[in-house]
Amino acid sequence: MEKPVLRIDHLTVRYGKTCGYCRNGGKLNKNTCPHCKTVWACNDVNVSLYEGEILGIVGESGSGKSTLMKSLYFDFGITEGRGYLKDFHDGEEDIFSQSLQQKKYIKNHIMGMVYQNPVLGLRMDYSSAGNIAEKLIAAGNRNFRKMNERVTELLDAMEILQSRKKEPPKNFSGGMQQRVQISKALANNPKILLLDEVTTGLDLSVQARVLELIRKIHQEFHISIMLVSHDLAVIRMLADRTIVMLDGKIIEQGLTDQILDDPQQPYTQQLVHSLL
């Protein structure tokens, strides 16, 4: 059986002290314990991502999609769970229990992240070239010419004019900022790309351009992508497989067409019907 490039087992992220009721699986009010008010942002999540696939994650706001992504990128500490990467010690060692240095290595060599809000992923006062180079520097590159060449290559691939290389992203439109973020995420040829609501807030024509770019990246670099969106049209266009999250839990998963055309869970049915 094919080994996944990323496997997450029983991932839980919670905020609060917990109590006997919620620890023993008592019914929560959405994702909050009615007794101790502990928030279960991600609750026993199990995910596998296979080589070259695009895995879509859908769900309403507060369902735990972004928490899952940010936990994977070590932006949030997790409460429980384990994670394994095929390209890190051959998938034998838990990535969440690694040292800061090892986590940095994973972030800089194996994964790339694009945030919904470009402010989280970019330094708005530095040039776009500098922003992309930051990732190369973090991976240990110290050759200016080589880094500059790579920046040029990535900006070309993202259809950003070379004449704007020295400009800071704060001067750019939302779509361009997202493209700079994608360039930065791809700088070190990561095996996995995490995309967190990358098209949210962009107008339709810009959305289409960014989505087309993601499709192109996927084909050219044969990269595995985890794509979070609450827009089912985006998921239908890109994702091979989809998982549906609600109140911090995965409630349904399967092939994208199967999920969108024949949803089994009432929430998924509601989600799909609200789209149509």
Binding site: G130, I137, F144, R145
Partner: protein, 293 residues
Amino acid sequence: MIDAKHYNFAFLDEGSKREIRRSILKAVAIPGYQVPFGSRELPIGRGWGTGGIQITLSIIGKEDILKVIDQGNDDSVNAVNIKKLVGECTDVEVTTDSEEATIIQSRHRIPEIPMRNDQILVLQVPTPEPLRIVEPKESVTKQMHAEAEYSGMWLSLFEDLTQYGKISISSEYPVMVEDRYVMNPSPIPRYDNWKLNDSETLYLFGAGREKKIYAIPPHTKVVSMCFEDVPFRTEDFEGKHCRLCGATGVYLDELIDEATGEKVYECNDTGFCKKRRMRGKNSMQTENMQRGE
């Protein structure tokens, strides 16, 4: 007027001096690491060299000979006042001769003469944190040092090269100490950076306002940060010489001659220049005496 008998030796009380010396020892033990210390009040404003003065006052002994320079100058207001304060509270000998001094307190320069291992150079530092330009929060910069996370510093060099085609830092050029800590070598010009590497002498850096002490002990590896393909460059004084003593290969100040309106150069290290001129005069006098004139 300060009278030595009204104060403890070297102004500070013994407890304070001991505590500062402990911080200095820690700084020497971990080259390039910024050690926090309880910066004392002094009869001098913060930002006027209080960090350097506290180090000097804590390490000075009765047999020491002190030299104080400010931007290479022995006679600037700051240098004269510091000399006065330390001199009158300790009765130690003060000098303008770098070779004669056992402790040299300096701002902005390392003397031109090679320093010896029986000397200590104390540098006054306004901004000890090299990462301040990339991160405003102290708690974050501390963590960055702990994790040796210096990509922000490298990024600022990359950004300089991208925007201007060269690294535009003139002074406070960051250095890597023993392949571990990025350190701000105080506002010395780039020209002096090489003097920190594998030096014979002990360098102590004090920041009174920021309450930090750090050190470079003798024979420590100190490398100015630069990319593999963009070598570190110092200021270039090729073809220029001091108009007073004729020295070349030293750090020069550029001045405009009022009479001719032309650019002229003088040694920045006034003590060094003065000594060269004295030596020149003496050798001329000896020559004249030998000739029987």
